[in-house]
């Protein structure tokens, strides 16, 4: 048996090799969203994993995989306007990993996402919220409600959201330099 890493050890930013400073980015635009018939979250997430892993440590690539999966899943499960466009952006430059997704959203959906993000707090607080939410939702096996919490509690991203012209953009940032 080995010891479990302490919270302090896990709080520390991962070491990024000096050689791993590549600037890598991509944008995926899909329109209309009604054209999505396959598993878009998996396709984009596995591409993100493979692409980031070419230049950065696997644990960073895995974080990209989780974020893209959960955020793109939210897009395809919450299509307000089937004729609208969905967008995924990923950028990493040795200092920061930034992933954002954008889609058409109602004022109500924007308010709900904003409130959820504001409720997450620190990773430690988000972890308590994740445990509580899992306990509450498990009896009915309720879908959803865990993805955004997971990104903060488990993967230690900072989340933010913006809305303009009826489009919601959710951005997840992870610092690579401590």
């Amino acid at each position: 048996m080995t010891e479990t890493p302490t919270d302090n050890e896990r709080d520390a930013a991962p070491s990024v090799e000096p050689a791993a400073r590549a600037r890598v980015s991509f944008v995926v635009d899909v329109a209309p969203l009604s054209a999505v018939v396959g598993d878009l979250p998996t396709v984009v997430a596995e591409f993100s994993l493979a692409l980031v892993a070419l230049f950065y440590p696997t644990n960073i690539a895995k974080k990209a995989n989780v974020v893209v999966t959960e955020l793109v899943q939210n897009i395809v499960e919450n299509v307000l306007d089937p004729t609208s466009q969905g967008q995924v952006k990923l950028a990493i430059d040795g200092k920061e990993l930034v992933i954002s997704v954008a889609n058409a959203a109602s004022d109500e959906a924007v308010a709900k996402v904003r409130a959820r993000i504001e409720s997450l707090g620190t990773p430690a607080e988000a972890k308590k919220l994740l445990a509580q939410t899992i306990r509450e939702r498990r009896p009915q096996r309720l879908k959803g409600g865990l993805g955004l919490i997971r990104l903060v509690a488990e993967n230690r991203f900072t989340l933010s959201c913006d809305d303009s012209d009826g489009r919601l953009t959710v951005t997840a940032r992870y610092p690579l330099e401590g």
Binding site: P5, D39, V66, I134, R138, K143, E154
Partner: protein
């Protein structure tokens, strides 16, 4: 080695995830391998859960290992089914449980303890982790 039961998730005609419960003497090994990405994993794993509930009470188990080392990804839709499988093992197996997990995998380090229900003293006192490197 006796295979007690197994469950599998198929996606686009290919196996993407399987969990196997097997008995080696009095050692129960429950493995998770692959990725859970689908919308509703219960569609594939409900029979496995039912079979676990049926076969585990009849086994003589002195030692138990639950191995997540080859579970490469689990989306949030997969959390509850993992909890159900693990809970079935803890319910029907007496004694200590060793959980093998990947040292530098965020979900296995941060979220898995929640899914194991380690907040409960009765579970925590029976559980030890074995940390492994990603395979």
């Amino acid at each position: 080695m006796k295979i007690l039961t197994y469950g599998e998730i198929m996606d686009a005609g290919a196996s993407v995830f399987h969990s196997v419960a097997k008995l080696d003497g009095e050692r129960l090994l429950v493995t998770f391998e692959g990725v859970i990405r689908i919308d509703n994993p219960y569609r594939y794993l409900e029979p496995y859960l039912q079979e676990l509930e049926k076969v585990l009470p009849d086994q003589q188990v002195a030692e138990c290992v639950i191995d997540f080392a080859q579970l490469r990804f689990c989306n949030s839709n997969g959390f509850y089914v993992i909890m159900d499988i693990v809970e079935s093992v803890y319910r029907h197996v007496k004694g200590n449980v060793t959980v093998r997990r990947v040292r530098d995998d965020d979900w296995q380090q941060e979220t898995l303890p929640i899914l194991l229900n380690l907040d409960e003293d009765a579970i925590a006192s029976r559980t030890a982790f074995e940390e492994v490197r990603a395979l």
